[in-house]
């Protein structure tokens, strides 16, 4: 029986024979006819969207502010210091509510908003971008891509593990071979993905946002709602303050003699930073950064306060409609615990790469 199920799943995965609600999922049109499970899946997808984008934005912004605080240019230092002190001491929920009020009230109307060649729009209805449309069975391709990523990810983790436990003599410390454990699996994954795309016959086209009601509203295209924008801005700016402090402490953990020696050798400020200081600073930064990323993923649950349908918001609605509180709460805990686990695992792989060998 079990073998039969696995076989039919593999069949579906490879040839698309299986048919169910999940194989014909259209991620655009969630309607009230779909099941609660689909609603939770969409909520989880929304949470992932916000969490991953937020992590990327917060890292870059925090890096910029951390560098500004140690730059030696007084206005930059004051700006960095006041930014960090100000946003660190205000609750994140207050910041989210504030940014939501800003997006709704301060952003211009559609007619007066930003319009880049009729393809990109920014106004108080949100951010509108051209949307890539795929013709064909994309969900099967997504599953194939997921399995390929998991397989190549396992290869990467095992290779990484073997390299760091082989001992100092044979471990390539600073050569290009250091990058092989993540580079080769990444290229392998991209190759596998390209082969799958070519074999599946999926095609790509773009749908641009259209003006309706005489230019007073927009329809179509990839829409990032005002709630999403407010949540992303609030979370990124808040987490960036903590990332900036981590960056600052990481930079100060590097011996000042390193900077002096690099400058004495004739390296410019930027080269010193990039080649000498930052690689050593990253070692110190990775563990606290991991906990900040986990905090951002957990803070994304505040989306319910700005009306963005993330996992907690959708779960709360389901809880109210069905009264099945235990099931919904168990789903929340399972999802957030696994998300924390995955983020910690990924950061640990990176940490093993950069940490001091042989300590």
């Amino acid at each position: 029986m079990f073998v039969h199920v696995v076989e039919s799943e593999l069949n579906w995965l490879l040839w698309g024979v299986f048919a169910s609600e999940w194989s014909t999922v259209d991620w655009h049109d969630f309607d009230p006819e779909k099941s609660y499970g689909m609603a939770l899946a969409v909520g989880f997808a929304n949470t992932l969207k916000v969490a991953l984008l937020g992590i990327v934005l917060a890292t870059f912004l925090g890096l910029a502010i951390g560098l500004a605080r140690t730059s030696g240019v007084k206005p930059l230092e004051y700006f960095g210091a006041s930014y960090v002190e100000f946003l660190r001491n205000i609750p994140v929920l207050l910041q989210l509510v504030f940014w939501y009020a800003v997006v709704l009230n301060v952003f211009p109307l559609v007619q007066d908003g930003l319009n880049i060649s009729d393809a990109i729009f920014l106004n108080n209805r949100g951010l509108f971008l051209p949307e890539p449309l795929f013709e064909g069975s994309v969900d099967r391709l997504l599953f194939q891509g997921f399995f390929a990523a998991a397989a190549w990810g396992v290869v990467s983790v095992v290779w990484n593990h073997k390299m760091h436990h082989r001992g100092l003599q044979s471990a390539p410390a600073s050569t290009w071979a250091r990058h092989l454990p993540w580079l080769v699996p990444l290229l392998g994954f991209l190759l596998t993905l390209s082969v799958c795309v070519l074999l599946s016959g999926v095609s790509l086209s773009f749908q641009f946002p259209e003006k309706v009601f005489g230019g007073r509203n927009l329809r179509g295209g990839l829409t990032l709602s005002p709630e999403f924008l407010a949540l992303l801005m609030g979370l990124s700016l808040y987490t960036a303050t903590f990332v900036a402090e981590i960056v600052r402490s990481g930079l100060s953990a590097v011996d000042r003699g390193q900077t002096e020696a690099a400058r004495a050798l004739g390296l410019s400020g930027f080269q010193t930073l990039r080649r000498v200081v930052l690689p050593q600073a990253v070692r110190v930064m990775v563990p606290p950064l991991t906990s900040q990323y986990l905090n951002l993923a957990k803070n994304s649950s505040l989306a319910v306060a700005v009306g963005y349908p993330d996992l907690v918001a959708v779960g709360g609605t389901i809880l109210n409609q069905t009264g099945k509180s235990i099931e919904v709460i168990l789903v929340w805990m399972a999802v957030y615990l696994s998300l924390s686990l995955v983020i910690s695992l990924v950061m640990n792989v990176y940490n093993t790469q950069v940490k001091l060998v042989g300590r």
Partner: protein, 357 residues
């Protein structure tokens, strides 16, 4: 052969940095000016009525709203923001409760008696101030139900209650995590990792919906505020447990070994040797956890409890002040900032004094 390096180090004024500073300074002022203009220059301040925020503009028939902030929206709703719907004539009790609590803290900090006595005095003062807050017939005070509490007073009650009960819980869990008995260690570790892995808002939902399920049907329901307070206590307990665990690990193992060599029991070892050192080490991290707690209590606004942030979000719903979204938010942000920044400066000053000693 004399080889002069191509790039000689400059002496004197760093021209590049000075120019960049001037340009950035000007840009910052340009960016900050509209905010200052909205906050102060174009704003309306007095009297605390809705009409103060309306201006006569030439060419318009009706009065137009002022271009800047409408601060009367904050002055008028100040009692709501500070104490919620607490009856005006009983507000003095909140002040008295605060004084009793501060007296308890002072006694804890200054009295040189046994630790247990000091902790009990602090706990007693907290409970008495809570009693003053709520009121009791036998004291001759009118009872104010917790549904009427709100604003800054409620934020402080939730925070202080959270750390007051969360600290013993966290301490026990931290000791349990380091225990040699597998069941205790497993229970403590599961509790800590579970609570730390989920957002506080899911814990608040859990407390709101699951607690009534464990009560027998048709019985009196648990106070909504108490449910939120329990969720906050559980949440803080897990984070404090990690902080205390760090402190316990920082105490040198020689201290543990020496105490055991002297024949001290586990309780004696912890009470007399390990915990005093561990807790002294963890004080800065504990204060920063407390600052985080004050900010995290604002999340109860999502489950319908009107603390400072909840009240501030609700002010635009008052018919007089429709559309005034920003002013109460800015004001409550200022209050949070003053409290949290003040606490962090105090903590830094305490660290410096402690290190100097």
């Amino acid at each position: 052969m004399n080889h002069t390096p191509e790039k000689t180090p400059r002496s004197g004024l760093p021209i590049g940095k000075v120019l960049l500073s001037v340009v950035l300074g000007a840009a910052a002022l340009l960016g900050v000016w509209p905010i200052i203009r909205w906050l102060f220059v174009d704003a309306a301040f007095w009297p605390p009525e809705a009409t103060a925020c309306l201006r006569e503009v030439a060419g318009e028939d009706e009065l137009v709203s002022v271009a800047g902030a409408c601060w009367p929206a904050v002055w008028d709703t100040l009692p709501l923001l500070l104490v919620g719907r607490y009856p005006q004539e009983e507000v003095w009790r909140i002040g008295l409760a605060a004084l009793v609590f501060l007296a308890g803290v002072f006694v804890f900090a200054r009295w040189k008696g046994p630790m247990l006595g000091r902790a009990l005095a602090l706990a007693g003062s907290m409970l008495f101030s809570l009693l003053l807050f709520r009121g009791a017939e036998f004291l001759g005070l009118a009872v104010v139900p917790s549904t009427e509490w709100g604003g800054l007073a409620l934020t402080l009650v939730l925070s202080i209650g959270g750390i007051g009960a969360g600290f013993p819980l966290g301490l026990v869990m931290a000791l349990g995590r380091r225990s040699s008995l597998p069941v205790i260690r497993w229970v403590s570790t599961t509790y800590i990792e579970l609570i730390r892995g989920v957002p506080l808002i899911t814990l608040l939902f859990m407390a709101n919906y699951l607690f009534p399920l464990v009560l027998p049907p048709n019985s009196v329901s648990i106070d909504a505020l108490l449910r939120a307070q329990i969720a906050i206590i559980l949440f803080q307990g897990a984070y404090i447990a990690e902080v205390v665990r760090g402190g316990l690990q920082a105490v040198p193992s020689g201290q543990y070994e020496a105490a055991q060599a002297l024949g001290m029991s586990y309780a004696k070892m912890m009470r007399l040797v390990v915990l005093p050192q561990a807790l002294r080490i963890s004080v800065p991290a504990l204060v920063s956890t407390f600052i985080g707690l004050i900010k995290d209590t604002s999340l109860v606004a999502v489950i319908g409890i009107f603390d400072l942030l909840g009240t501030a979000r609700n002010v635009p719903s008052i018919p007089e002040w429709v559309g005034r979204d920003f002013e109460p938010l800015v004001f409550s942000a200022l209050i949070y900032f003053v409290i949290c920044y003040g606490l962090s400066r105090f903590s830094r000053a305490y660290e410096n004094v402690a290190i100097a000693r």
